[in-house]
């Protein structure tokens, strides 16, 4: 086809290179545009009283300190719930069982779960945790719902990370008298740690940015949550309500900027921690 127009393999290569280069630039520009747009509108709103103050007049004025605390509370709690379950499931799938009907069902289940819109999780959380278990709109209901939502991500990234640990390492460990669990703790998990942490970051990011599932399960109360059973309003929900109900565009952008910066910060900090951990393991 291209040949007929007198375009040889060399030209094809050049055209392909130009296309992938342009695609990469486009992606970069889009990201930069969103980042700059949010920060441009949001940064001017930031001040110590905005960060550490309570909202007044439904968020029209005042700060977002309760939202920052609620976001951290809810996200950390959901990751703390989802990580042990998710990583243990991945360990079961890779180390404790052979491929069979059960593993296929679990894999199919996690994949299906990963594709479900978050509002469905919200509805489930509302019906099951909020109403049936009587937990009400609370940090606990929200965290449990979000932990189910991010479970597939954590299981799949952990499983992939575990599968990258070379099989001979396991044989060496077994041959030196390790039990299956010792193989997991001394060889498999240390090797898979960076990948597992990546999954946790992805999950954390999803919980920080989630709105629909949070409104339905943690509510949207403006005050500071003082226990697991308090309702809470996260930054993402705050942003949504301020913008959707036309309460305050300025404060919405301010919240958006804080949200964005905190996600960037989480990524950088955790990546650094993992690298330090990995290098220390090599030295010791």
């Amino acid at each position: 086809m291209l040949r007929r127009w007198g375009i040889g393999p060399k030209q094809t290569g050049k055209i392909a290179a130009a296309i992938v280069w342009m695609a990469a630039i486009l992606t970069l520009l889009l990201l930069a545009f969103i980042l700059v747009y949010v920060l441009w509108n949001g940064l001017p709103q930031l001040s110590l009283s905005f960060l550490f103050g309570n909202p007044t007049n439904m968020g029209r004025s005042g700060g977002i300190w309760p939202m920052i605390v609620s976001t951290a509370f809810l996200s950390v709690l959901s990751v703390l719930i989802a990580t042990p379950v998710g990583v243990a499931t991945a360990i079961y799938l890779t180390e404790y069982t052979r491929e069979g009907r059960l593993t296929r069902i679990i894999r199919f289940g996690t994949e299906a779960l990963a594709g479900i819109p978050s509002i469905i999780f919200g509805l489930f959380g509302f019906v099951f945790f909020v109403i049936y278990l009587g937990l009400g709109w609370s940090v606990l209901s929200g965290a449990l719902t979000l932990s189910i939502m991010i479970l597939p991500t954590i299981v799949r990234t952990a499983e992939e990370a575990i599968l990258t640990v070379p099989r001979p390492y396991r044989e060496v460990s077994f041959s030196l008298g390790a039990t299956r669990w010792q193989v997991v703790t001394t060889v498999v998990l240390p090797g898979a740690l960076p990948g597992i942490v990546t999954g946790i970051i992805l999950g954390l990011g999803r919980t920080v940015g989630e709105t629909a599932a949070v409104i339905l399960t943690a509510g949207s109360a403006l005050h500071m949550p003082h226990s697991l059973f308090s309702p809470a309003r996260t930054m993402a929900v705050h942003f949504y309500i301020l913008a959707r109900e036309g309460i305050s565009d300025a404060n919405a952008w301010g919240t958006g900027a804080v949200l964005l910066i905190s996600i960037l910060l989480i990524n950088v900090l955790i990546n650094q921690a993992v690298q330090r951990l990995a290098s220390r393991r090599m030295v010791r």
Partner: protein, 253 residues
């Protein structure tokens, strides 16, 4: 002088799915000597080796008939603790496989798995194992360096030290010098000669020449069958079976 058998293989057949890997193998392996299992690829040498420490338990779809006795007791006995069997029967793999840990932590890995956490005691075990594997002088000043920073030959001697740290009774070596240069190979063969005073050694050598150099006892395996076995001096010079002779003469394999 006939030494007592450390390992006794009795009528052992082994299958991977429908493929027969070992066919009615019977063999007795003397204590404190080097026994070489040699023959062309696919003869079942590695399979037999991996049965001695039950590493093949990890594979699915295998089947076994017959038995293996260690000091007169079946290693397949129900209720036998496989981890303690593997501490008694250590294994060195074809490729040097240090774990991504320091030199010290590689050697102390086995004892730590077994519950030894006394630092003083571990240091002693590490030093003795590294000395016995003839690598102590090269690494004593950098025990905390990553094991992967060592050369290939050093890594393989480290792996031998790691097995010695278990204080095993039997050491299995599966082509331990296949990836190494002649000098490293010679050093490992030397240390095997020293180690056989204290350990029963079973090696799959990476060549007939190596088998002839190191073996006190030798067994020729061909397509899952044990063709013949006997003292190395006799088997390599006056084989009884025509197939052994053909192989030694380089007519196949």
């Amino acid at each position: 002088m006939p030494s007592p058998a450390k390992i006794e293989v009795r009528g052992l057949s082994y299958y991977y799915g429908a493929t027969k890997a070992l066919s009615d193998v019977s063999l007795s392996i003397p204590a404190k000597a080097i026994t070489a299992l040699f023959g062309p690829a696919g003869g079942g040498k590695t399979t037999l080796l991996r049965l001695f420490n039950r590493l093949n338990d990890l594979l699915a779809g295998t089947r076994r008939q017959g038995d293996i006795l260690l000091d007169g007791e079946s290693i397949f006995a129900p209720g036998l603790d496989v981890t303690s069997l593997r501490r008694r029967v250590g294994m060195v793999f074809a490729l040097p496989l240090p774990l991504p840990l320091s030199i010290r932590d590689n050697v102390s890995y086995g004892p730590r798995l077994a519950g030894q956490h006394n630092h003083h005691r571990l240091d002693e075990v590490v030093e003795k194992a590294l000395r016995d594997a003839a690598i102590w002088d090269e690494v004593k000043d950098r025990l905390d360096a990553p094991a992967l920073s060592l050369s290939g030959g050093q890594q393989q001697r480290l792996c031998i030290a790691r097995v010695l740290a278990l204080q095993p009774e039997v050491i299995l070596l599966d082509e331990p010098t296949s990836g190494l240069d002649p000098i490293s190979t010679a050093r490992i063969e030397e240390s095997l000669q020293a180690l056989k005073r204290d350990y029963t050694i079973v090696i799959v050598p990476h060549s007939v020449q190596q088998a002839a150099r190191v073996a006190d006892e030798a067994a020729f395996m061909l397509m899952g069958e044990l063709v013949e076995h006997g003292p190395g001096a006799q088997l390599f010079t006056k084989p009884k079976d025509e197939r052994t002779e053909n192989y030694l003469m380089g007519r196949f394999g």
